[in-house]
Symmetry: C2
Subunit: 291 residues, 2 copies
């Protein structure tokens, strides 16, 4: 990381501003530039001193940067790539923190110039809070970060991104963009849809009787609708196939209940219980959760 003098983060939401704060803590000498589209965000970001410099000029903000990190909703990535294209220096590394990876790779190969390396990142951190007000320099401490690479990925750029996220406290995993999107459709995007569907299929008058179980099962549905709409659309194929699998499992239980097949109901519920118990044992062993 010795040659880095400037890192620009595009988007000063919770993730983006936590990255600039994390950089200041881990690499004191690196200049951080934060780009924000909205004037009110820029004013707050300046008040909170989350970066060395806050800018409303995208091209200006990436000029001179050795690394540019996109932390905006996924669907503006392509436009951002196109806009910043001519301002990016030779050898600059572009990355992002989006929750899907196939589309960003496609947009990067279409819009970024030769001599600029794109490496898609997905640090799995955040909270139900949004905005620069909640920025924390330790947001990524202990978080999982999936780094993605294709056959064309520059190994040196990949190494730099690995060192970067490791310095911010992340545990790293390497996947192809395709594998990433398939896995996260199943463990993140479909569960989000399921939580929202569970709430939407229940009358408000009945929800007031909901206990802790319901609250936990539906928690992730409190996430921002616009961000999640982006994610679902950017991973549409995997998400629709995942919903089909979920529906098929629900209908298995429905059929067993409807025809009074106790053994079959118990088999389905016990399979889930055992699978989750194995998952918990695995997570305890890897110290991802504590008992």
């Amino acid at each position: 990381m010795k040659d880095l003098r400037q890192i620009t983060v595009v988007g000063m939401g919770l993730l983006g501003s936590s990255i600039t704060l994390g950089i200041s803590r881990c690499f004191g000498a690196v200049k951080t530039v934060g780009y924000a589209h909205r004037a009110v965000t820029r004013r707050r970001a300046r008040e909170l001193c989350v970066a060395s410099e806050i800018s409303g000029d995208l091209r200006g903000s990436v000029t001179g940067a050795e690394m540019v990190i996109l932390a905006t909703p996924i669907f503006v990535f392509e436009r951002m790539f196109a806009e910043m294209r001519d301002a990016l220096g030779e050898g600059c590394i572009v990355t992002d923190v989006g929750s899907t990876k196939v589309q960003p790779y496609r947009w990067a190969s279409r819009r970024l110039p030769k001599g600029v390396d794109y490496v898609g990142s997905h640090p799995i951190a955040g909270s139900e809070q949004r905005g620069v007000e909640y920025a924390r320099d330790d947001l990524f401490e202990g978080a999982l970060c999936v780094l993605t690479a294709t056959k064309k990925t520059n190994h040196s750029a990949l190494g730099i991104m690995r060192d970067f996220w490791t310095a911010l406290g992340c545990r790293l995993l390497l996947m192809s963009p395709q594998q990433h999107d398939r896995v996260f459709a199943n463990v993140s995007h479909v569960p989000h849809v399921a939580a929202a569907a569970l709430i939407n299929c229940t009358k408000a008058s009945e929800l007031s009787y909901a206990g802790k179980g319901f609250m936990d099962t539906s928690r992730i549905a409190s996430g921002p609708a616009n961000i999640w709409s982006d994610v679902l659309l950017a991973n549409a194929g995997n998400v629709t196939r995942g919903i089909d699998r979920m529906v098929a499992e629900l209908l298995k239980v429905k059929r067993a209940v409807g025809s009074g097949k106790r053994k079959e109901i118990e088999r389905l519920l016990e399979a889930a219980r055992k699978k989750r118990a194995a998952l918990i044992r695995q997570k305890l062993k890897k110290k991802e959760i504590i008992s």
Copy 2:
């Protein structure tokens, strides 16, 4: 509650043995008799002194009781009612802690003798732990307890049950058995099926990437499969209709994602987010949760 001399609890699992402990704490003078089917449970219950007397003889255990509380899986209720029938004294109140209420009322009216009053209770307490080893005399402190009544319910018996659960620390709600089963299909039984389906539709190899969101969404699927099979079967009509509604909501999202309708996806996710935000506000106001 002044005339109670003996309360018998049938079933010495977590709930049953927590009830006998709670009775000892709240009504010191009342004799508690705990019935357990299995010798190993009786031995542990005696070692832990969870009741004044532990018995393996159902008729003997209910003889002389002014109140009998069933805390076994739902599907043995009818057999239990039939077996204890001749041993129940005139004026005895029979209740239960089952998670569905329509079926127990049906079985009670079929099997219990005249002069014995049945009032179905559903205290919403428990934990992922099972068994007499986890019994606590404060398990019901602050818990919601749904009391159910029909046109035929004896008001004096209902009043005694209300005083009983209130003394154990419950907040009380009154519903008809039909309303109870409809509401709890939606806020408890269908969410359980959804959590299990979510796990079953995901490969074990992918589950290892699951984060906190997935773990919360699937938590209730760790509940005991035999108990939940009972619950689903005893509430089959409401549960299958609930699954249909959940499937319909999932397919709405699938169609919107598949056809790239961003506005529609956002509308569905935002509806869920808002509904849950309103629910949280309501629960904060009622002090059911703390911020």
